[in-house]
Amino acid sequence: MGIKQKVKSLTARNNQLADTFYQLEVISNKKIDEIDIPDFSDRIKQAGYQHGIKPAGMDILQINIGKLCNQACAHCHVDAGPDKKEENMNRETLERCLEILKNNSFKTVDITGGAPELNPNFRWFVEECRMIDIEIIVRCNLTIILANKRFLDLPDFYARNHVHIVSSLPYFTKRRTDSQRGDGVFEDSILALQKLNAVGYGKANTGLVLDLVYNPSGAFLPGSQCELEEQFKQQLDKRYGIEFNNLYAITNLPISRFLDYLIETGNYADYMTELSNVFNPATLKGLMCRNTISVSWDGYLYDCDFNQMLDLKSDIESAHIGNFDPQDIMKRKIVLNQHCYGCTAGAGSSCGGEIA
């Protein structure tokens, strides 16, 4: 047991891409000039969205409760890691999130990070959410369950609070998993999945949902979600006796550490060109930014977690949870940039997998 961080955060490396302005310059073709793909905004106009993309509802409040993580994965769009000790949501902001969840029409609270369990207010927050009639999703990186004795009871805690668990497992092999997430991650993830199965997660008739996330360990797009799910189910059962509910295939968006990886390995131009080549207008209707509000550790509001990491705040007068106004939110126009090609490629991509 025990895992080794795959990389250091962009911040720890003093990498230029830690600056979101620089990232935006890169993806807007201003820094790397060998690619020639249309502006995403023009592309959606051609697809019939003359006035941009508008919200369809306010169903999911996705809260990034902190960037602290026991892992530092090569592709992480949050640039999370063990060094991110400051950027974590405080109790006051979480209390404000609870108020908003109680007083609005959200159906789901989606708690993400970092490793959300590392926020000292995490368990309190989940229990408070449990008292509201709302689905609770926790994006658990699996290895956190084995990271310290104090986390060993997490499977029971999750089960007790009927938490819907969504966990990344890039592949059912060690090579693919560890190359993305760090040496030792695969073994610990398998053990954690077995512990979750043991309390009923992923099993029939328990109501305890365990979904896995596949995202490519490299510069390529995910395959068919349905076929990948079939392969994962067969292989995880055959090799480790593991069961789970659904597999979400998620495309890596060209931002943060994945952007750094693409540039460093000479894959950036081909990857962006491929995203643009397989742009699928049918995905626009189901984009997650249309029914999700993303909250950052310091309470700012964004149209999605990716915009959050690029510091592209929602286009409303006061994009902060302190001034949450549902009417303003429903009237806003979604903020777009070139990274949005990641959500519209092929069958599309969202935090819930394929969308078209």
Binding site: T173, R176, P216, F220, L221, P222, G223, S224, Q231
Partner: protein, 111 residues
């Protein structure tokens, strides 16, 4: 004229073969696209077959194209290498099975 064969960027020009024979070229691409759609075989299985054939054909364009296609369709390194071994086994088998002819000939000649 080019001073080397098989330039990777030429793969992107494959579609341009219609320039010299439009009708045949279009028909070929229409058929080609249909072949790789999901059918009785999945797109992943088809990509693996294509990768294996690409190796026996020793076509660098096809190897690049179907290595990517395999990854994009959810195949992993182990599956891809096994597919190439299948192709290599058939290629070797096809060589070796001809040795029966050699043996027949030799046995006929020898006392």
């Amino acid at each position: 004229m080019s001073d080397s064969y098989f330039k990777p960027e030429d793969l992107k020009k494959f579609g341009d073969i219609t320039e010299f024979q439009e009708e045949y070229g279009n028909k070929f691409f229409q058929w080609y696209t249909t072949v790789f759609k999901e059918g009785a075989l999945s797109t992943r299985e088809k990509a693996l077959i294509a990768l294996a054939v690409a190796h026996t054909e020793q076509c660098p364009y096809c190897i690049d194209a179907y290595s990517s296609a395999c990854l994009n369709n959810g195949a992993d390194e182990e599956q891809m290498m096994e597919a190439v071994h299948v192709a290599a086994a058939i290629k070797s088998g096809a060589t070796l099975v001809n040795s029966v002819q050699m043996m027949n000939h030799v046995k006929k000649k020898l006392m």
